[in-house]
Symmetry: C2
Subunit: 80 residues, 2 copies
């Protein structure tokens, strides 16, 4: 059975590098990976924060948030 | 052909959580993942720094470093 992995980003360079190398490196047999760009889906910001996401890019695996490098804070995302 | 992925950590709680959820989530068909604990392999610190690793836990994928959350700086690792 697949676990859910959600990669949240905001389109910044740090985010895109992490998306290309890391989010897409997950095992597709074990993870259903969804890519969420807040520029396209601002309504998902609240959901990301509910998982504890404080900055982007971030990868939430089975509900657990991992912040990868640092592109922008969620405060900056909300202000943009 | 597999790419090389190296997960560097120092045994801290933040590191172990990232190892369990993230390092082991990579696609084994595409990545040969090595786990390096500096407590066991202090000689690998120089190698990690050569990839640009500044803190642990960190995942280096095909030579590109990704810092995941924040467990300890490399300065702290070297001092411990």
């Amino acid at each position: 059975m697949s676990s859910k992995a959600i990669f949240y980003h905001a389109g910044c360079n740090v985010c895109v590098a992490a998306e290309n190398a890391l989010a897409e490196a997950l095992d597709p047999n074990r993870f259903e990976t969804e890519i969420v760009n807040f520029a396209d889906a601002p309504s998902r910001i609240v959901e990301a924060e509910s998982f504890g996401v404080e900055s982007v890019p971030a990868l939430v695996i089975a509900g657990q948030p991992f912040h990868i490098n640092f592109g922008a804070s969620m405060a900056d995302v909300k202000a943009s």
